[in-house]
């Protein structure tokens, strides 16, 4: 879906102007900081969703043991600020998708980029805007679906990291280390005066 007024630059600027409250440390397990499910609850209501019950709130808070839990919550806060733009409220019908995004749609990005960077760095801002829009089934004004997809792919931090790790050089190194380790495991180690 595309809509007049869904201008990428405007949304990116909105992220750049994210108030400090939305960049504060998110609260974890009853600790200090911004309670992300509470912020999300207000947002989802404004988008026409039903009030969050405990189970849904816990889904947005996410597992504390999940990798990058704090970063994911930080990204969720930034996404809440973005989605508080009047355009989304006026569009209507976006609450369910927004909730799904806040629950699990930011997990991969959370493992690749610090949430602060998604506000301070232009490319990362654009990436977060595009991730959010894609999750909501939207695309920026003036772009075809293919163009939107291409641009998101070119910015994709998760993919960039994965591809870098899969580069021929790194894969060859991993293989070489694994091969040497296997060979050395069969050889003598070095004398050690105490055991563990």
């Amino acid at each position: 879906m595309q809509g007049p007024g869904l201008v990428l630059e405007r949304l990116s600027r909105r992220l750049a102007e994210c108030p400090p409250d939305f960049l504060a440390d998110p609260a974890r397990l009853g600790g200090p900081g911004v309670v992300v499910p509470a912020v999300a609850a207000d947002l989802l209501c404004s988008l026409g969703g039903s009030p969050l019950d405990e189970v849904r709130a816990a889904g947005i808070q996410g597992a504390e043991s999940a990798p990058f839990a704090r970063n994911r919550l930080g990204l969720a806060l930034a996404a809440c600020w973005l989605l508080a733009d009047p355009w989304f409220r006026e569009a209507g019908g976006l609450a369910a998708r927004a909730e799904a995004l806040l629950r699990s749609g930011l997990d991969a990005l959370a493992g690749a980029v610090r949430f602060e960077e998604c506000v301070t760095a232009a490319d990362r801002r654009e990436e977060l805007v595009r991730v959010v829009l894609a999750a909501l089934g939207l695309r920026p004004d003036g772009e075809t679906p293919e163009q939107a997809e291409d641009r998101l792919r070119s910015l994709d931090s998760v993919e960039t990291r994965r591809v870098a790790e899969l580069s021929a050089e790194r894969t060859a190194r991993a293989r070489e280390v694994a091969r040497r380790m296997a060979r050395k495991a069969a050889a003598e180690a070095a004398a050690k005066v105490s055991r563990e």
Binding site: L29, E64, S65, P67, F68, A69, R70, N71, G111, A112, V113, R114, E117, R161, E165, R170, R173, A174, E176, V177, A178, R180, M181, K184, A185, A187, E188, A189, A190, A191, K192, V193, S194, R195, E196
Partner: protein, 463 residues
């Protein structure tokens, strides 16, 4: 005197005096039947590095505070973050390590079990790589990439622990500076000389009767060399006491499992030596030595950062229990970042009454000694079983022996691997005899987030 090529390869810095010492240790008529050969693999450039480490160890002991690591440890983490595959995959680029230290993901034995290569930094020359394989008593079977210089650092670490207990070792040139004792079905045994201790002799041996030429050999061998330092797990040292071997060391350093007050008293009474409990893991190297005044374990190396953390990796408040986590160290093939040891303890800070300013690991749990027996009563140690189990593709295991000597082994195999149960059953029975033995496969073993107690026995430590 010519230097045998094999010895030169294992101990590149061996001297003529060292060769003579090595021969006396190995060719003594009562020498144990050594089943292995190895050496320190130190090269010329390692000795000044070892001296620098020894100096730093003494001069950089200072009070630490809870919180993020010292700047030099943080700097090391930063330097490695782009080079170590595991860090690259897990550490958020640009994360403020000092401010958000608790956001730095922890690592564990499981990581080493599944992808040990991911600990080795890119660009690190692999020529000097050595591997220690262990199933340990606390987790997954692992292969730990190590470096001879990092292993040699155990020497100054032991010296310092002894000094803190009022013992000056002075090992240089000794016929045998140290005997490392084992008492188990099988263990590697060898003699060598240590360049890091001026070519002093070192023997790793198995006290088991079948390992010696004849009755009385062990006693005569001990009497001939009288090492000033004995190391070994408490069960093995107690076995040496029980056998009435002529032990006259200055110090006994016990490792691997908890040294109970009763065992300490018995060893001290029998040997007249200072007895020091030692906290060390293959992955981390030595972490702590027992305080001479009984205040837990003092952090031993200056170049590690200790924390205790909760299940989520967040630092536990001072004085509260958590899992001991180690960052840093000096092993260039496995720079550790928030490595979970699997042991539970709390940390205390501030200068101790013994005078050591370094933090103290208090109430350490996770090293309880466990002993099994075969159907004919022969002791079978966790090391025996670990050595056996590591030949199978296991991610985790749990072995239990009941009072009637029946046993149950629960295993979780490595992803994508198949377990040869018949072979495993046969291997276990070769150690344990024909007692009832159940082998169970549980793909969810350890999945509940709780620590798997790998070994449990209803049998006591003494017959």
């Amino acid at each position: 005197m010519s230097v045998p090529a094999a010895l030169k390869e294992r101990v590149p810095l061996v001297t003529a005096a060292g060769v003579a010492r090595f021969k006396r240790l190995t060719e003594h008529p009562d020498a144990p039947r050594f089943n292995h050969a190895t050496g320190d693999r130190l090269v010329r450039a390692d000795l000044p590095a070892l001296r620098r480490f020894r100096d730093a160890l003494a001069s950089l002991r200072a009070e630490r505070k809870p919180g993020p690591p010292a700047p030099e440890v943080l700097e090391r983490v930063r330097a490695y973050s782009g080079r170590v595959p595991l860090l690259r995959a897990r550490l958020l680029k640009g994360l403020d390590l000092r401010r958000h230290w608790d956001e730095v993901p922890t690592s564990s034995r499981r990581d080493l079990a599944e992808a040990p290569w991911s600990f080795v930094p890119d660009g690190e020359d692999l020529e000097r790589l050595v591997i220690y394989r262990t199933a340990g008593t606390t987790g997954h079977p692992i292969s730990v990439p190590h470096h001879p210089l990092a292993v040699a650092a155990y020497l100054p670490l032991i010296e310092l622990a002894l000094e803190r207990h009022g013992v000056k070792l002075e090992p240089t040139g000794l016929e045998a500076a140290c005997f490392l004792l084992g008492s188990q079905v099988h263990t590697y045994s060898y003699a060598t000389v240590l360049s890091g201790w001026g070519g002093a002799g070192f023997v790793k041996l198995n006290l088991r009767g079948t390992e010696w030429p004849e009755p009385g050999s062990a006693a005569r061998y001990f009497a001939a060399f009288r090492p000033p330092l004995i190391t070994g797990d408490p069960v093995s040292v107690l076995e040496a006491v029980r056998l009435g071997l002529p032990l006259a060391p200055k110090a006994v350093v016990t490792t691997s499992t908890t040294l109970t007050p009763a065992a300490r008293a018995r060893i001290a009474r029998a040997t007249g030596a200072v007895v020091i409990d030692w906290y060390s893991l293959v992955e981390t190297g030595p972490i702590g030595y027992a305080c001479p005044r009984g205040n837990g374990f003092h952090q031993l190396p200056h170049d590690i950062h200790l924390e205790v953390v909760d299940r989520l990796g967040r630092p536990a408040p001072e004085g509260e229990r958590g899992e001991v986590v180690v960052t840093g160290g000096r092993n260039p093939y496995a720079p550790l970042l928030r490595y979970r040891t699997g042991d539970s303890a709390c940390l205390e800070y501030g200068r101790c009454v013994c005078g050591d300013p370094m933090p103290r690991v208090m109430g350490l749990e996770g090293r309880e000694p466990v002993l099994f027996r075969s159907s004919d009563g022969t002791p079978v140690t966790t090391v025996d079983l670990s050595r056996l189990l590591r030949e199978f593709p296991l991610l985790q295991h749990r072995f239990v022996q009941r009072a009637d000597l029946s046993c149950e082994l629960t295993v979780r195999t490595l992803p994508g691997e198949r377990l040869d149960r018949r072979k495993l059953d046969a291997a276990l029975r070769a150690f344990l005899g024909a007692r009832p033995l159940d082998i169970r496969e549980d793909p969810a073993l350890g999945e509940d987030g709780k620590k798997v107690v790998c070994y449990e026995s209803a049998l006591g430590l003494t017959p």
